[in-house]
């Protein structure tokens, strides 16, 4: 062991798994040690609020890779263990158990954790967060006896959860603190569409409403709202955003700023330490500034760049961001980043229908799109954005014009 270089990966989720695969593909000959506080073998996170919650996806199907893959990759897992400290001078990590593990290269794939709800009562039975497989197992257990659920937070995860529970016949109320759903991530038009969708499906949406107190004798019984309203509930799921796990890096003196700061090659301010996934704040040529993303494509693509940096064959991470969300019979796909848009174009019936696209333009060029039940538009949109040319707005809005014909 003494002469073998060790690569330590902290975290064992989307970024970490891609990183270990890429390391071997790029010829990393040293050992690989993966440490994560999640006790489960790596699993897909997106289905947690979707098909896994609704019971359509099994535990086996949730696995990111089958077990033999990790044997082939020759990876040592230390699951259920927390890294307490990084000792950069001694080039080792110290676990909460006191164990010390040395590294030649270190990869931070620490992701993000749920933002705690600042209200009393969150430790009552029947109250859950949703980030891990064990969280969902807990929710499923509570669901066996629940009839009325309150979802705290109207972001993607909250809305997906609302849809999954509603499909199972549970009454669902969504509390959104802001004036509209998806306030942070979607434009007004798209927010309104999601409100209509959920209301049509029988979900109650309360906007400008915060949960101020969760009460019950042992189990949750009621959610008190900021406006004085009381909602009877035996299940509450909190989804009010995440906080990047940067403390380890910060305490080790690495630069952080809403995420661990990395360059386009996923390198931190220490040449032997890379970082990838939800925990990073990275430069984006497409956005023209530094950004932090919370998505699987970001985690896997950045992990490829991180592995390349470790192996000394740097490869720039500069992919077009994209994301998806499933709610009821609606598949939303988002291409690009709409921040700073100056104009929007709608294609299809956003007022009454369930299939349309909203395009975002800046200086007459396409920068992003939200596509609802419109897989084809989405795929062409990605290409059109990368084309980076002035686009014909009339053609964009005309459903009889195929987007394909706008490609040059």
């Amino acid at each position: 062991m003494a002469n073998v270089e060790n690569c330590v990966i902290i975290g064992a989720s989307h970024a970490a798994v891609q990183l270990m695969i890429s390391l071997r593909q790029l010829g990393w000959r040293g050992s690989i040690t993966v440490i994560s506080d999640d006790p489960n073998m790596p699993y897909h996170k997106p289905p947690l609020s979707k098909a896994y919650l609704s019971g359509e996806t099994t535990d086996e199907q949730l696995a990111l890779r089958a077990a033999p893959v990790y044997e082939k990759l020759d990876v040592t897992f230390k699951l259920g263990e927390t890294v307490a400290k990084i000792d950069r001078d001694g080039k080792s990590v110290v676990l909460a158990s006191g164990e010390q593990i040395s590294y030649a290269k270190l990869a931070l794939c620490t992701g993000a954790r749920v933002r705690p709800l600042p209200a009393p009562g969150t430790n009552l039975a029947g109250v859950h967060y949703l980030r891990t497989m064990d969280d969902v197992k807990g929710i499923k257990k509570s669901m066996e006896t629940s009839k009325n659920a309150v979802i705290i937070g109207g972001g993607y995860i909250g809305l997906e959860t609302a849809a999954s529970l509603k499909k199972l016949g549970i009454n669902v109320t969504v509390l959104e603190a802001e004036a509209r759903l998806l306030q942070r991530v979607a434009t007004e038009q798209v927010s309104s569409f999601f409100r209509r969708l959920h209301e049509e499906e029988g979900v109650e949406i309360l906007r400008n409403t915060q949960a101020s107190k969760l009460v019950g004798s042992e189990k949750l019984e009621k959610v008190f709202c900021s406006d004085g309203r009381e909602i009877k509930a035996d299940l509450a799921i909190i989804g009010i955003g995440v906080i990047p796990n940067t403390e380890l890096a910060e305490n080790a003196g690495l630069e952080t700023d809403n995420g661990i700061l990395v360059d386009e090659f996923a390198k931190t301010s220490d040449p032997d330490i890379v970082a990838a996934g939800d925990c990073t704040n990275h430069p984006s040529k497409i956005a023209g500034k530094n950004i932090r993303l919370e998505s699987v494509p970001n985690a896997t693509e950045q992990a490829k760049a991180a592995a390349a940096s470790i192996c000394g064959t740097p490869k720039e991470y500069n992919e077009l961001p994209w994301f998806w969300s499933d709610q009821f019979d609606v598949k939303l796909q988002i291409a690009g980043l709409n921040e700073g848009y100056t104009d929007t174009v709608v294609r299809g019936d956003i007022e009454n229908g369930r299939s349309f696209s909203v395009f975002y333009l800046k200086n007459d060029k396409l920068i992003a799109a939200d596509c609802v039940n419109n897989l084809k538009d989405f795929m062409f949109t990605k290409k059109l954005i990368l084309q980076d040319q002035v686009i014909d707005k009339a053609a964009l809005s005309d459903e009889t014009v195929e987007l394909k014909s706008l490609l040059t």
Binding site: I21, H44, P46, P47, E60, Q61, L64, R65, A66, P68, V69, K72, V296, P297, T300, W324, D326, K331, Q333, L375, K376, F378, M379, F380, K404
Partner: protein, 106 residues
């Protein structure tokens, strides 16, 4: 356990044993077969798991569904028997299935 043969665009063949119930996409990832990316994990939103089913097997692998069809419309090398491998659930009848992988997914 059914055996599936994946043939890369350059002719390299991989014959692997696969559990029924998994998908042709996941089985490729689980055997580290290059040429299937599976970026969305089988949610049918990315089209990076395109494969061409050997014509002898299409009656068993079944029809393209409508979402899948939309995605296949934009892949570079669509053929008559093209499928998204995440939409093919492996069954015992698929023992011996042969799929080819397109060059664009490397």
């Amino acid at each position: 356990m059914p055996t599936i043969k994946y043939i890369e665009f350059n002719g390299t063949e991989h014959e692997v044993d696969v559990m029924s119930g998994t998908t042709v996409m996941q089985a490729a990832l689980d055997n580290m077969i290059e040429g299937i990316v599976g970026e969305c994990g089988g949610s049918c939103v990315c089209s990076t798991c395109h494969c061409m089913v050997d014509p002898a097997w299409t009656h068993i692998t079944g029809e393209v569904n409508s979402e899948e069809n939309d995605l296949l419309d934009i892949v570079d090398e669509r053929e008559e028997t093209s499928r998204l491998s995440c939409q093919i659930k492996v069954t015992d009848e698929m023992d011996g299935l042969v799929v080819r992988l397109p060059e664009s997914q490397y």
